[in-house]
Amino acid sequence: MTGRKRILERAVKELQDGMCVNLGIGMPTLIANMIPEDVDVMLQTENGLLGIGAYPKELEVDPDLINAGKETVTAKAGASYFDSAESFSMIRGGHIDLAILGGMEVSKNGDLANWMIPGKMVKGMGGAMDLVQGAKRIVVIMDHVNKHGESKVKNTCTLPLTGQGVVHCLITDLAVFHFPESGMELVELQKGVTLDEVKVKTEAVFVVSESLKVNK
């Protein structure tokens, strides 16, 4: 199993029946296709739709119906459309149960950096800064290390922040961390990953949960 697949398969377990969920652009969007049939969730897209359906068949394609990643989508039964202010009232007001977002760096106190790299062209934060402050639970999914093998799980983020102390759960290809007030906690090892490997590849100081789950 690739690291990406491990991340996604673990992330989809965060979705519980009855939730309203926002999936970030990029890797998180892929989760939409992996939701078990017995888990009934409503997916929100911040450009103004609650209840995203499948991608359209060719004849169903509608330029007036897209998601936040500007992809053509459909709406499922029970969906509603709304304007951008209303959309972020939902988000900012704590009415979205869960947001799953991609990350560039996460720090031990739950800071998230995922919107810009100094020196590269700034594309903009879109709705990410609103989501991390508003959704009830923030799950970040990312590779544990970058292409140079350096840990993306840091004591302090080096990139400009998207939000401070906002991450509730970090899922990487190696492990799952929670961020209680007592400090960053390793709660799961992905299949085939050892505690030593996580320790070596994690810059951030963390504690190991007493009930550490070792996925097999």
Binding site: T45, E46, N47, G48, L49, A54, Y55, P56, K57, E58, V61, D62, P63, D64, L65, I66, N67, A68, G69, K70, E71, T72, V73, A75, Y81, F82, D83, S84, A85, S87, F88, I91, R92, D111, M121, V122, K123, G124, M125, G126, G127, A128, M129, D130, Q133, G134, P160, L161, T162, G163, Q164, G165
Partner: protein, 231 residues
């Protein structure tokens, strides 16, 4: 009260160099195509444009970039546009990046006569720099200000002659808040219906916000990312 224009010439004549224009749309979805191309043809310069995105290189607000009409862009995401990058790096283009929810709320606030509000969005980030911070119930928030444009460009699906508007699906997006935030709001629509034909319970934007209505033809409605289900 018939607000329907036969051409955009009249309103375009009122837009001068240096104007601030708030523009609806998300990506290329629900953008006021006709108003943008008309403004490109008109050629006024030094515009401040407030819109979630800045189009792509050859469509939408990208047309104004191409024509070097934009002095300052206020947006949440501008990553679809190479011209944008060039003009920004060369210093021709000033940019204010605003979180998407804050941008929507700043436009709503401007339209609603609220000069400023507090939000947690951006606290502890570069967005918060230089802004007033305040605690409420032990949590820190920053103050953000309302935005009002000299003109508002709106795209809707249907209108009646009073300017009541109905949007379609996610082409609604920023358009309703933008409609409230212009000193002069111009709505372009695909279809005009008779007064009384829109169900008053189903009107998204009341005509009170709309000064002029224009019926566009042959909408392109370009798609940025065509994604379809596996057949």
């Amino acid at each position: 009260m018939d607000k329907v224009l036969s051409s955009l010439d009249e309103v375009m004549r009122q837009i001068k160099d240096g104007a601030t224009i708030v523009v609806g749309g998300f990506g290329l979805c629900g953008i006021p195509e006709k108003l943008i191309t008309s403004l490109r043809d008109k050629g006024v310069k030094d515009l401040t444009i407030v819109s979630n995105n800045c189009g792509v290189d050859d469509w939408g607000l990208g047309l104004l970039l191409e024509n070097k009409q934009i002095k300052k862009m206020v947006a949440s995401y501008v990553g679809e546009n190479k011209l944008f990058e060039q003009q920004f790096l060369s210093g021709e283009l000033e940019v204010e990046l605003v979180p998407q929810g804050t941008l929507a709320e700043r436009l709503r606030a401007g339209g609603a006569g609220i000069p400023a509000f507090y939000t947690a969005t951006g606290v502890g980030t570069e967005v918060a720099k230089g802004k007033e911070h305040k605690e409420f119930d032990g949590k820190t928030y920053i103050m953000e200000k309302g935005i009002v444009g000299d003109f508002a460009f709106v795209k809707a699906w249907k209108a009646d002659p009073f300017g009541n508007l109905v949007y379609r699906k996610t082409a609604r997006n920023f358009n309703p808040v933008v409609a409230t935030a212009g000193k002069m709001t111009i709505a372009e629509v695909e279809e005009i219906v008779g007064i009384g034909e829109l169900n008053p319970d189903e009107i998204h934007t009341s005509g009170v916000y709309v000064q002029k209505v224009f019926v566009g033809e042959n909408y392109e409605k370009r798609i940025e990312r065509l994604t379809t289900a596996n057949a």
